[in-house]
C-alpha cells in the first residue's frame, strides 16, 4: 500500500441555497440561525482525496476545518464521505469574524508539515468570500508546487499530472510531490454521505487544535469598512412592437 497522505481543507459556509442577508450595521452578513454546509468546492476536494484512496494512491485522508465548534459537523460530513480522521482548528467566534485566507493557509501549512502530508487539496475558492487564495498561499508558505483549478488528477511515477481549467481552455501540467491542488468544479461529482457512513463517521477520530498550538497569530490583517447589498435592479419597460423599441433606443441615444 502506498504511503501518500492527503490533507484536505473543508470550510463551513452558508449553504449555497440560502438567501444572504446583510447585517443592518453593515459589518457583515447574518449567520445566526442560517443553514450552513460544506463549501461545494471543498466537497469536490474531499471526493478527489477519497478517490485517490480508493485507487490505492493515498493511504490516509485527513480533513481539516478552521472555525467555531460547528465546524465539527462539516468535518463529520467529510468523515462520512470517506476521510479517515479529522482535525478541528478551534477559532473563537470573535477571531473568526476577521479570519482570512492568510491565517487558514498558515494553519494548513503547519498541519501539512506536522502530519507529513504529501498532497494538500482545497477547493479553488469558498462560496462565501470568493477569495481564491488559500491554496496558493499554502503553496507559497510551504514552498511546494501548486496545481490550481484542477479538473483531472493522475499519478505517474513520483509526479502528478494535472489538467487545469484556464481561460483559454485546458492546460496539462506535471508537479512533483509534495504538492498543493485546488479543486475546480469539473474535477469530480462528490458522493453523498449515506446513513451507514454517517454512523461509522461518529467513531472516526477528530483532534482539536488551537491557533496557539499551531503557532499562528490570528490578528486581523484587514479591516472591514462596509458590507453592502448589491444595488437593486431597476424595473424594465415593456414595448409593444419593434418600431417602438427602435424609437425608444434612438430617443435614449443608444443606436
Amino acid at each position: 500500500m502506498s504511503a501518500l497522505r492527503v490533507l484536505v481543507g473543508c470550510k463551513r459556509v452558508i449553504d449555497y441555497a440560502v438567501k444572504i442577508r446583510v447585517k443592518p450595521d453593515k459589518t457583515g452578513v447574518v449567520t445566526d440561525g442560517v443553514k450552513h454546509s460544506m463549501n461545494p468546492f471543498d466537497e469536490i476536494a474531499i471526493e478527489e482525496a477519497v478517490r485517490l484512496k480508493e485507487k490505492k494512491i493515498a493511504s490516509e485522508v485527513i480533513a481539516v476545518s478552521c472555525g467555531p465548534q460547528q465546524c465539527q459537523e462539516t468535518l463529520r460530513t467529510a468523515l462520512a464521505m470517506g476521510a479517515d480522521r479529522a482535525i478541528h482548528v478551534d477559532i473563537d467566534s470573535k477571531d473568526y469574524e476577521t479570519l482570512q485566507p492568510i491565517h487558514v493557509s498558515k494553519f494548513l501549512a503547519k498541519l501539512a508539515q506536522d502530519e507529513k502530508a504529501d498532497i494538500v487539496i482545497v477547493g479553488k475558492q469558498a462560496i462565501d468570500d470568493d477569495c481564491n487564495q488559500t491554496g496558493q498561499m499554502t503553496a507559497a508558505l510551504l514552498d511546494w508546487p501548486q496545481a490550481t483549478f484542477a479538473s483531472k488528477v493522475e499519478k505517474n511515477n513520483g509526479d502528478l499530472t494535472v489538467i487545469r481549467e484556464i481561460d483559454g481552455g485546458l492546460e496539462t501540467i506535471k508537479v512533483k510531490l509534495p504538492a498543493i491542488l485546488t479543486a475546480d468544479l469539473r474535477l469530480n461529482e462528490p458522493r453523498y454521505a449515506t446513513l451507514p457512513n454517517i454512523m461509522k463517521a461518529k467513531k472516526k477520530p477528530m483532534a482539536k487544535k488551537t491557533p496557539s498550538d499551531l503557532g499562528v497569530d490570528v490578528a486581523s490583517r484587514q479591516e472591514i469598512v462596509s458590507v453592502e447589498d448589491p444595488p437593486v435592479r431597476e424595473a424594465g419597460q415593456k414595448v409593444e412592437s419593434v418600431e417602438e423599441l427602435v424609437t425608444k433606443l434612438k430617443d435614449s441615444g443608444l443606436v
Partner: protein
C-alpha cells in the same frame, strides 16, 4: 463479516473439526458458515442483544443451530478453543489496543486468530499489523462499497507471531 465467511467457505479444511469462537459475530454469517462446513463447535459471540436475535434467525434460515453468547469474551481464553475469528472490529484506535493485547495471549495458548477487515486505518497503523499476514483479498461488492466510503478491498489476516 461477509468476507471472513467467503474465506471460510473457500478454505474449509482450516475450520473443519475445530472449536471456533466468532467475536463480534453480528449477523452470524461466519459462525453459521463454520457450522455448515463441519466445525466441531461454534460460539457466535456479540454483546449486542439484537445481533444475538439476528444470529438465531439466520441460523434457522440456514437449517442449522449455533451456540450464542452475549458475554464480553474479549480478554478471556479457553483451553478448548482452536480458532478465534474477529470481523470488522478495528474502527477505533482504543479498541484496537485492547484487542492487540489479547491476540498474542490467544496465540500463546495455540489458538489461531483470523481477522476480517477492509483495511481500516487504526488497524493498518497499529504495530500489530506487522504480525498479520494477508491470507485472502477481494474487491468489496457494490452494496458493501456504499457503506464503506474510501475502502474498496476486503482482507482476511492471520496472526503470525
Amino acid at each position: 463479516m461477509k468476507l471472513g465467511t467467503l474465506f471460510i467457505l473457500d478454505n474449509q479444511y482450516i475450520f473443519a473439526n475445530k472449536n471456533i469462537v466468532d467475536i463480534g459475530s453480528g449477523c452470524g454469517a461466519s459462525a453459521i458458515a463454520c457450522k455448515l462446513i463441519g466445525a466441531r463447535s461454534v460460539v457466535a459471540n456479540d454483546i449486542d442483544k439484537i445481533a444475538i436475535g439476528a444470529i438465531n434467525l439466520n441460523a434457522t434460515a440456514n437449517q442449522t443451530e449455533v451456540s450464542v453468547s452475549s458475554e464480553n469474551l474479549i480478554g478471556s481464553s479457553d483451553s478448548h478453543w482452536n480458532i478465534v475469528l474477529l470481523g470488522d472490529m478495528f474502527y477505533d484506535r482504543h479498541f484496537v489496543d485492547i484487542i492487540s493485547d489479547w491476540i498474542p495471549k490467544l496465540s500463546n495458548n495455540k489458538i489461531s486468530v483470523f481477522i476480517g477487515d477492509p483495511g481500516r486505518l487504526p488497524l493498518i497503523n497499529h504495530p500489530l499489523s506487522s504480525k498479520l499476514e494477508i491470507v485472502f483479498k477481494c474487491e468489496l461488492p457494490e452494496e458493501c462499497l456504499k457503506g464503506n466510503n474510501g475502502m474498496n478491498s476486503g482482507y482476511v489476516w492471520k496472526y503470525t507471531p
